[in-house]
């Protein structure tokens, strides 16, 4: 197991280097002189600008600049926004909010996704099964922000059941609808995945054995089928944590939540390259680490992976 974890961690290093290089390369490609942009319409003397260039290592070749950027990422120092706030401060205040939203979404994925997946998997081919399957496809086909608008319009504006926007109220009452909307596409995938896993396992030899020795249906489904079906589902949900942080860009913009996605959205509309790239980097790193943890969890749950070729 230790060997597997070691190999897996080592494999992550080139991916981290590659992704940060890719993202930083995109900033480097950005047109215009960042120092000139910083001073706006009244640029100071060339000498003064050169001092600033030296301060931000802009006079050095690309690869050196990348290494300074990497050092900044590792020491959690991303520079400043246009308003002079430290980007790391922005991240520190907004990330917990997005994390809450993402974890609430994961909760819904487990309760609704796995729950409906089990029911439809066991009772396949009935009206309920087909209705759920069709609904998941419809949800996948609608852009998340449209679903957000519609829910906002129906449940908040027309019916008044839940608040329309979140703003500064980070509590379960305000976060309920945004978390559900953020989770909607993932819930659909979890339902389909759980259902197909259960369907595959339903005819497995070990299930026949369990039934043959006289276990009742409930025990067979919950103790035998479910345990074997859930391994890929757990992997999917775990890996989705990073995806949800990315999807939060849209959800937070719709529901006005001051999370990291909202910072990213306003960074885009203000054209703040440094902020956007820093936030994307942080989100990508979270995504990579979440995937790493899930792979380790996977090996823990399924011995075949651990003792496989690796």
């Amino acid at each position: 197991m230790a060997r597997y974890i070691g190999v897996r961690v080592l494999q992550t290093i080139p991916v981290v280097l590659g992704t940060t290089l890719l993202i930083y390369g995109l900033v480097f490609l950005m047109p215009g002189d960042p120092v000139r942009a910083m001073f706006g319409n009244h640029p100071p003397s060339e000498a003064a600008m050169n001092v600033v260039r030296r301060e931000f290592h802009l006079d050095q070749p690309f690869i050196m600049q990348y290494l300074y950027f990497l050092k900044g990422v590792l020491t959690f120092d991303f520079g400043k926004t246009f308003q002079g706030r430290n980007v790391s401060d922005v991240i520190a205040t907004s990330l917990p909010i997005t994390a809450q939203l993402a974890f609430l979404s994961i909760f819904f994925e487990i309760i609704i996704g796995v729950g409906l997946g089990i029911v439809t998997g066991v009772k396949k081919g009935r009206i309920f099964d087909n209705t759920v399957l069709m609904s998941t496809l419809v949800i996948i086909s609608i852009p998340t922000f449209v679903l957000g608008f519609v829910c906002q319009f129906i449940f908040a504006v027309k019916l008044g059941i839940v608040p329309a926007t979140v703003g500064n109220y980070i509590d379960i009452n305000h976060m309920l609808m945004p978390a559900l909307v953020l989770a909607s596409v993932s819930i659909s995938y979890v339902i389909r995945l759980t259902r197909s896993q259960i369907k595959d396992n339903l005819n497995a030899d070990y299930v026949r054995t369990a039934r043959a020795k006289g276990l009742d249906n409930r025990t067979v489904v919950l103790k035998h089928i479910l345990r074997n079906s859930l391994v890929p589902v757990v992997t999917y949900i775990g890996a989705d944590l990073g995806g949800l942080m990315g999807g939060a860009v849209v959800t937070e913009a719709v529901f006005n939540i001051n999370g990291i996605g909202h910072q990213l959205y306003s960074g885009i509309s203000r054209g703040e390259g440094v902020l956007v790239v820093s936030l994307v980097t942080v989100l990508v790193l979270i995504y990579i680490v979440a995937n790493l943890l899930v792979d380790i969890l996977y090996a823990f749950l399924d011995p075949r992976i651990r003792y496989g070729k690796s």
């Binding site: 590659g18 496809l137 990315g246 999807g247 390259g273 956007v276 790239v277 995504y287």
Partner: protein
């Protein structure tokens, strides 16, 4: 089904080679013909194909469907509900919603189809090379795929489209989406090639003396491409949704262009007064995406030999 195998009882002086001969009126069919005979029996295939054809005709010849110019708007006609002249009503600016939906099909479909074509082509080439040659080349290509795969799609698109904020061209969206769309076909193709490479008919082909490239193009590629084709069809819908999301974030085609994504994004501010502005483009987008999912599903069912039975 109607195959008829006749067994001969040979005369004592018959040549040995004639003993095993039999006649059968079953036609020799290839994978494509067999898949076709399955797919034409699937009603979902017909429904989704008809919808896709209708949408394609809107994208190619929008004038057939609507004579109204989507960019000519009468402010005096602001916010009308459906009527004979404006079947789906008008927007706040007095533009005809039906005309905008019809003309919006072109950029949405172009982005979905072009991204899929470019991404799949690049992915198939890289995946085949990685899977076929293996070794160090495979390790390098696989790490490159990992890097591009590790960035969530929307975040990647946000980072790249930052570069083109001044442009309103449809190609900037296609380029950006393709830049990250090739990874999953590459992974699919690589694993499919690895599987096919080990099968007996490839060994037979090598034994018969066919060259490496003949092997790759004539035998391995056609036998491993079917999962990629099915997934690609499903993904067309996904890229259409992605375009609308980018438009919502202000990184799409720009507010002056006519596309479903842009119209949906614009509809947000007037949702209270003009819900039809949100309804129609969203409905068209969702139906299009669903049709591509069903089309891809029926192609997969037809091409997957394991699913037959």
């Amino acid at each position: 089904m109607n195959s008829k195998i006749e067994h001969f009882v040979a005369d004592y002086d018959t040549n040995l080679s004639a003993v095993d001969q039999f006649t059968s009126d079953k036609k020799v069919t290839g994978l494509i013909q067999e898949a076709w005979s399955i797919i034409i029996r699937n009603p979902l295939f017909w429904v989704s194909s008809v919808i896709v054809l209708i949408l394609a005709s809107m994208a190619l010849f929008p004038g057939l469907w609507s004579q109204t110019d989507p960019l000519v708007c009468q402010i005096s006609d602001s916010n009308l509900s459906g009527s004979a002249i404006h079947p789906m009503g008008t927007t706040l600016q007095g533009c005809d919603v039906f005309a905008r939906v019809v003309y919006g099909a072109r950029p949405s479909l172009a982005i979905g189809v072009m991204t899929t074509v470019i991404g799949t082509l690049i992915g198939v080439i890289i995946g085949t090379i990685a899977g076929f040659f293996g070794g160090i080349l495979d390790s390098i290509l696989s790490r490159v795929i990992d890097v591009f795969y590790a960035i969530p799609f929307i975040l990647a698109a946000v980072a790249v489209l930052q570069l083109f904020q001044s442009s309103d061209s449809i190609w900037k969206v296609i380029f950006t989406l393709s830049l990250f769309a090739w990874t999953s076909p590459a992974r699919l193709m690589r694993s499919a090639v690895l599987g096919v490479k080990q099968q007996e008919f490839i060994t037979a082909s090598v034994a018969l003396g066919s060259s490496q490239f003949r092997n790759m193009f004539m035998h391995i590629l056609p036998n491993s491409i079917s999962p990629v084709i099915a997934t690609a069809t499903i993904n067309i819908g996904g890229y259409i949704v992605a375009e609308s999301t980018l438009s919502f974030l202000g990184l799409g085609l720009g507010s002056n262009s006519v596309s479903w994504g842009q119209d949906i994004a614009n509809a947000r501010d007037n949702l209270m007064t003009t819900p039809s502005m949100l309804l129609w483009p969203s409905l068209f987008l969702a139906v299009t995406t669903l049709s591509f999912i069903f089309l891809g599903d029926s192609i997969r069912d037809a091409l997957d030999p394991k699913g037959r039975r």
